[in-house]
């Protein structure tokens, strides 16, 4: 038996004493496991983590993490997390949110945190439904979906998370599946290491109100043919037999078969997550089955200055150049006169 020193953290160290209350079979359980695994790989002490959430099933997440946690109000987790990170840039700040919380009531805060590039890791659980309020459509529900508030089908277009992130000048976007713990763990580690806002969309299954919504893409038997797991610097090849790939055909992506029409691996696009021009990444993020495989992995990962670092350096710069060093200096600055 090896002795565990206090420096070594294990996934177990991140489990709180609270009983996990999600429905049996809910995708959230797997996300929790993957996050706890990822955190144990980061080498950051437990007290440096803060988990911030809004409202919704996924937003109960902080209660199950033995870290600092703040369960906020609906839609506002991005704003609360921004305040936490700006106040203490040393913390590893995670925002747990859902498709309703982040993209409906919290849409404004979501695009602005992404625009500012505050170093927060946002895990967006996308089950395309409102679970906690028991089954109404969400901003990511496919057009036409029948739910409690759309008994005749919705007549509105859904958001695509990646498209919104890139549109808001996002620098990190990744996608994973709740059930794929090893892929998810790798992505969460990447997200944590990235300096700036990281958005990870998790295709998550709501076992009660939208069961199987991602199944056509993520089902065990079909997922190899219907998803493409992207890795920076590697060709975009997928399929059960690793014989399908993506090429750029004019201004569009096209799925091709290796070995057909003279196509070989050298014709296949190589993934460049670090490219700052989001053109190809945007197309990858928007790929939909059946025309395309759904892209998983880190789609975009571009370095850039973070808001909180710029705040700190601006303060330091001005502190150094200003004659005002304390409140007494300020109170007695400018036009001051003496009454004798």
């Amino acid at each position: 038996m090896t002795e565990i020193t206090s420096n070594q953290v294990t996934p177990r160290d991140f489990k709180s004493d609270q009983e996990v209350r999600w429905c049996p079979g809910c995708g959230d359980h797997a996300v929790l496991n993957a996050v706890q695994k990822a955190l144990s790989e980061l080498g950051i002490p437990r007290e440096k983590f803060a988990f911030i959430s809004g409202i919704g099933c996924s937003s109960r997440f902080p209660y199950y993490m033995n870290t600092y946690g703040f369960h906020g109000i609906h839609g506002r987790a991005s704003a609360i997390a921004s305040g936490v990170k700006i106040a203490n840039p040393e913390l590893s700040v995670w925002q747990i949110t859902g498709d309703g919380d982040a993209l409906a009531i919290g849409g404004n805060h979501f695009i602005h945190v992404v625009r500012r590039n505050i170093d927060i890791n946002i895990i967006l659980f996308n089950n395309e439904i409102y679970g906690l309020t028991k089954g109404q459509y969400s901003p990511t529900s496919e057009k036409g979906i029948i739910t409690k508030t759309s008994p005749y089908g919705t007549v509105e277009e859904p958001f695509s998370v990646g498209e919104l992130v890139i549109g808001a000048k996002g620098k990190f976007f990744a996608r994973t599946i709740d059930s794929n713990v090893s892929l998810s763990t790798r992505i969460y580690v990447e997200a944590a290491k990235h300096k700036g806002t990281s958005v990870v969309e998790v295709l998550q299954n709501c076992v009660i109100f939208n069961d199987g919504i991602h199944e056509t893409v993520t089902g065990k038997d079909v997922r190899d043919d219907r998803t493409l797991i992207l890795k920076h610097g590697e060709p975009m090849i997928f399929g059960k037999e690793n014989n399908k790939g993506l090429i750029l055909d004019g201004l569009k992506l096209r799925v091709v078969k290796l070995g057909e029409n003279g196509i070989s691996e050298k014709n296949i696009l190589v993934h460049d997550a670090f490219e700052s021009n989001p053109g190809i990444q945007y197309m990858l993020a928007n790929m939909r089955y059946p025309e395309y495989p759904v892209a998983l992995g880190v789609i975009r990962e571009v370095p850039g200055p973070t808001y909180e670092n710029d705040v700190v350096s601006q303060i330091n710069e001005i502190k150094n150049s200003s004659k005002i060093k304390c409140m007494d200096d300020l109170l007695n600055s400018g036009s001051v006169w003496k009454v004798e």
Binding site: N66, H71, I73, A87, N108, I324, M327, V336
Partner: protein, 613 residues
């Protein structure tokens, strides 16, 4: 400069600068006030400007005014009616004539009294006839043509030349009041240091106005108001918004915390965010949020992380922040919420003052949701009450709402500069790292405040949030626990009374009538009461700065007067609050909902009715 033959001494005087919203009247008034303050006069100012940055030119709706009340003794209000009115166009006369004392002086720009401008102002005939200007000492100065003439050799474009009209008018006023031009000239040199031609133009215009007034002996005799016999010490001029910002910064320094402000620009509160954004030299972290909700939510995040956190807004913004204030109550985090009140409801009268957010501040949230509510009552005591709001928040682990208003925010007055060492200590209610396990809702027995554990501290990891919790921080829907926690949160706020000083009665401690009020409308009431006292009436005055919890001696003070009258700029919100808290008393009311401060005359007349009724 010439010597003056005849000079008369006056106790106090009210001057109103008035013109189109583009005429620079706010600057003119501020420069005059600063010069008067440096001379040693006590003063209070009141800027009154339209919501539109440039309302239709020449219209009454576009008139921007700045009133200064200065005196030889202490000044508590910007004054009712003007002794001197400076009117840059006919609309300025139309808007202000009823607020000018008969026999007073009106200086106007004759060149601007064109047929078109007279019509735009809504006059049917010559204003001199229609408004019977013979009642006043009228100085019809050709200001526009005089500045054109004075600046003709500088080679400036006509627009720039005409922009100095306000300085010509200011020069005239300086002569009337026997003031030096030095301070204003120094201002030009600092403000336009990159543009020497503009410095020169303004100086020439200012002097031209001064000499013009001297030449025509604009007002004989010249008025002199000697310096006020105010307490010895160092002074500066300060407006309510800057005082509020500095109060928060002073509290952060005393508490040895960093200050975070999360706000969204809104009239008339933006000045607080602007001032704090400029104070990076003292380490202030300012965050201009995407909306009001993000303003308070970022502040709550910073509070959770151990900063002194604040958010500033006005009535509509306070409404948007309601849910997050509820979260702060539930999470029991320290935060200061500043509401610079304006005329409402909805967008209402953004640039006008009102006190109608009181009940919103006290009760405008879902659930049983008590917060501490304070109200500042002068521009400079915004500093003290912002400091107090922060001290209470940090020591009692509670949100505190500080009410100011547009009148206080933009009004300014000389302020005796405090020394930081004389301000009270602030001891944030931190958790002890050695007392483990840390329970987030464990309280101290005296104040019932929970302990603040800051992320980054080993062994104090915990979760808080908007759901009801047990002392351990476990989510709980247990009926008894909820009732217990509701009572604990309520009692915690009630115990803040430990920090609330007793009400101070100004005047006799008993009598016929007690005039009661709160916040920014207090100066007018106070002066009205003082005048009535001097006339022999048995009337006294109290100002409330602590709204929740109320001072301990309210009942005792109220019981010593036969009648009580509550004066406020709303329909009677504080009066109703007092009726709820102390139903045994009868409350008369004096109310005004015009977006304007009271006048001393209004309060006096109504108090007299009550006294004699």
């Amino acid at each position: 400069m010439g010597t003056k033959s005849k000079v008369i001494e006056r106790e106090e005087v009210v001057i109103r600068f008035s013109g189109d919203s583009g005429d620079g009247m706010q600057l003119t008034g501020s420069l005059f006030s600063d010069t008067a303050a440096l001379y040693g006069n006590d003063l209070t100012t009141f800027p009154d400007y339209p919501a539109e940055i440039r309302a239709p030119q020449g219209s009454v709706g576009g008139v921007s005014g700045f009133q200064v009340h200065l005196g030889h003794s202490e000044i508590y209000t910007p004054g009712d009616n003007a002794d001197v009115l400076v009117a840059m166009n006919p609309a300025a006369i139309k808007a202000n004539i009823n607020w000018t004392k008969p026999g007073g002086t009106i200086i106007y720009d004759k060149d601007n009294f064109t047929e078109k401008n007279i019509e735009r102002a809504g006059y049917l005939k010559d204003p001199v006839v229609e408004d019977n200007l013979d009642r006043f000492n009228v100085i019809a100065a050709p200001i526009s043509s005089m500045v054109r003439e004075a600046l003709k050799n500088l080679g400036l474009d006509p627009k720039t030349v005409l922009r100095t009209k306000n300085m010509f008018a200011l020069g005239m006023v300086y002569w009337l009041f026997d003031r030096k031009l030095k301070y204003t000239e120094q201002y030009f040199e600092k403000k336009f240091s990159q543009r020497p031609e503009i410095i020169e133009a303004n100086k020439i215009a200012l002097r031209a106005g001064y000499y013009y007034a001297e030449t025509i002996e604009a007002l004989a005799p010249v008025i002199r108001i000697s310096p006020a016999p105010i307490a010895k010490g160092k002074y500066r001029s300060i407006c309510g918004n800057v005082a509020t910002a500095w109060g928060l910064m002073a509290a952060a320094e005393k508490a040895k915390l960093q200050l975070f402000i999360g706000s969204y620009p809104i009239t008339p509160a933006s000045g607080i965010l602007e001032e704090l954004s400029a104070r990076k030299d003292l380490g202030v972290k300012s965050f201009q949020a995407e909306d009001e909700i993000a303003g308070i939510c970022t502040a709550l995040g910073a509070s959770f992380t151990g900063h002194l956190a604040a958010t500033s807004t006005s009535g509509p913004g306070l409404a948007l922040k309601s849910e997050a204030i509820g979260l702060a109550v539930m999470a029991e985090l320290p935060i200061v919420i500043i509401d610079v009140q304006r005329g409402g409801p909805s967008t209402g009268l953004p640039t006008k003052t009102e006190q109608a957010d009181l009940l919103q501040a006290l009760f405008g949230r879902n659930g049983e949701c008590p917060v501490v509510v304070l109200a500042a009552s002068t521009p400079s005591n915004c500093f003290h009450f912002a400091f107090e709001a922060a001290r209470i928040a940090l020591e009692h682990m509670t949100p505190v709402i500080l009410l100011t208003d547009g009148f206080l925010a933009n009004g300014s007055e000389p302020w005796k500069i405090p020394a930081m060492e004389n301000l009270p200590e602030i001891k944030p209610h931190f958790a002890n790292q050695k007392e483990l396990p840390y329970l987030p809702y464990k309280r101290d027995t005296a104040k019932l405040a929970r302990f603040w554990a800051i992320p980054g501290t080993p062994d104090l990891e915990h979760r808080i949030g908007g759901l009801e919790k047990t002392v351990k921080g476990t989510v709980s829907y247990t009926p008894e626990n909820h009732e217990l926690m509701v009572h604990l949160r309520d009692e915690k706020v009630a115990r803040v009374v430990e920090k609330v000083p007793d009400l101070e009665v100004v005047g006799e401690s008993s009598g016929e009538l007690l005039a009661v009020g709160w916040g920014g409308s207090s100066g007018y009431r106070f002066i009205a009461v003082r005048e009535l006292q001097n006339e022999g009436y048995k009337i006294s005055d109290v100002t409330f700065n602590y709204i929740n919890p109320l001072p301990r001696n309210v009942r005792e003070v109220f019981s010593r007067f036969k009648k009580i009258v509550v004066c406020e700029l709303n329909m009677g919100q504080f009066a109703n609050y007092l009726r709820m808290k102390f139903p045994e008393f009868h409350y008369e009311q004096i109310n005004k909902i015009q977006g304007l401060p009271f006048t001393i005359k209004e309060i006096k007349e109504k108090c007299l009715e009550i006294l004699e009724g």
